[in-house]
Amino acid sequence: MSLKKDAKKIFKKGILYDNPILVQVIGICSALAVTNRMMNSLIMGIALSFVTAFSSMTVSLLKSRTPRHIRMMVQVLIISAYVIIVDIFLKAYMPDMSKALGPYVGLIITNCIIMGRAEGFAQSNPPVLSLLDGLSSGFGYTLVLLSISLVREILGFGTVFGVDVMPQSFTKWTLMVMPPSAFFILALIMWAAYNLRIKKEKEGVEKK
C-alpha cells in the first residue's frame, strides 16, 4: 500500500512541483535543441526517461558496493552504457530519427537530470522507487519538451506530428524554426509555470 502512495507522491513531484526543467532549471541543452519538431521531442523524451529510470535503478542496486569517492565515475559509466543502448536501438530501427537527433542522443550522458536523480535520489533509496523517480523526472521533461515543440511546430511548419493543421493561407514563421524562438518559448513556459505554482500555494494557504 505504501509503495503505491510513495509512487503517487514521486510522480506528482517529478512532473509538477520539482519538474527538472521548469523548477530546477537543469537539462535544458537538449530541451532547446530538439524541439523544432514534435516527433523529435517525443523520441528524445522517451529516450531520456528510459535512461534516467534504468540508470537510477542500477545506481540504487549497486549503491552498497560502490566506494564513495569514485561513485561519480561509476554513475557516469552506468549512464553511458544505457545511452549506448538507446543510440544503437535508434540507429537500427529509426535511422531517420537517429540522423535528426544527431549528437544530441550522445549528449544525454551529460544531461544533468540523470546525474541529479542518481546522486540526489537513487543513492539513498531502494531500486523500485528509484526507477519510478527516474521515470517521473523523465515524464516531466518530456511534457515540457512537447509543449515547447507544439508551439514551435505549429507556428514554424504549420503541422502537429507532421500532420497539417493550419489553413493554406497561413504564413509560416521562419523565426520559430531558428534557435532563438526556443529560448523565448521556454522562458514564457517557465513564467507561466511559476505563476501557476504561486497560485496553488496561495489557495493552499487560504484553505487552511
Binding site: V25, I26, G27, I28, C29, S30, L32, A33, M73, V76, L77, S80, A81, V83, I84, D87, I88, G102, P103, G106, L107, I109, T110, N111, C112, M115, M178, P179, P180, S181, A182, F183, F184, L186, A187, L188, M190, W191, Y194, N195, I198
Partner: protein
C-alpha cells in the same frame, strides 16, 4: 571528409555556429554562472582550455584506436572518460606548477566534466568528419565563442540586477529571454560564413 578551410571553421564556430546560440550546448553552467563578469570569464577561459585539449585528444583516440578496432559504438564511454581523466590531470598539474591560476580557476574545473559543450564538440567533430587541423580550429573557436557568450551575458545580467523584473521572470527566464535576443543578433552573422 568535408572540404572547408580550417580558418573558416574557426570564425564560423565563434560567430555563426556559436555553441550556445545555435547549438544550445553548455546551457546549464551558462545560466548558473553568468551572474558576474570575473567568474564568467574564469569559467570561459577554463572551458576554452579544456575544450581545445580534450577534443584533440578525442580525435586521436577515435581515429587511431576506436576506428581501426571497429569499436565506434564505445565512443560515448571513451570520450567521457578521456574528458574526466584530462580534467583531473589538468587540476593536479595546475595545482603543482601554476598555483595562482589554479586558485583562480580551481572551483570551475570539476564543473567542466559535466559541461555538455565539451562532449558536444567532440561528438560534432566525429559527426562532421573533420581532419586534424579542422578539429583543432573548431575546438578552439567553439571555446572562444562560448567564453564570449558567457562574458557578454554576465555583463548584461550584472546591469540588470538592479532593475525591477516581474517576480516570475527573475533568474532563469530572464536569462533565457536575453539569450534569445543575443541569438537573434548572432543570426545576423550567418550571412558571413556557414558551416552546416
Amino acid at each position: 571528409m568535408i572540404d572547408v578551410h580550417p580558418f573558416v571553421i574557426f570564425i564560423a564556430s565563434i560567430f555563426t555556429s556559436n555553441m550556445i546560440f545555435s547549438n544550445f550546448l553548455g546551457m546549464c553552467s551558462f545560466i548558473a554562472v553568468s551572474k558576474e563578469i570575473p567568474t564568467a570569464m574564469g569559467l570561459g577561459v577554463a572551458v576554452t582550455m579544456v575544450l581545445s585539449f580534450t577534443t584533440v585528444l578525442n580525435y586521436i583516440v577515435y581515429w587511431n584506436i576506436l576506428v581501426p578496432f571497429g569499436l565506434e559504438y564505445l565512443m560515448y564511454i571513451v570520450f567521457i572518460l578521456v574528458i574526466a581523466a584530462f580534467v583531473q590531470l589538468l587540476e593536479m598539474v595546475m595545482e603543482r606548477y601554476l598555483s595562482t591560476l589554479y586558485y583562480a580557476l580551481g572551483i570551475f574545473l570539476p564543473l567542466i566534466t559535466v559541461n555538455c559543450a565539451i562532449l558536444g564538440v567532440s561528438l560534432f567533430m566525429v559527426a562532421r568528419q573533420y581532419d586534424f587541423l579542422q578539429t583543432f580550429m573548431f575546438s578552439v573557436g567553439s571555446g572562444i565563442g562560448w567564453a564570449l557568450a558567457i562574458t557578454a551575458m554576465a555583463g548584461i545580467r550584472s546591469k540588470l540586477s538592479e532593475n525591477s523584473i516581474p517576480e516570475g521572470l527573475r533568474g532563469a527566464p530572464t536569462t533565457l529571454i536575453i539569450t534569445g535576443i543575443m541569438a537573434l543578433a548572432f543570426i545576423g552573422f550567418s550571412g558571413m560564413v556557414q558551416i552546416q
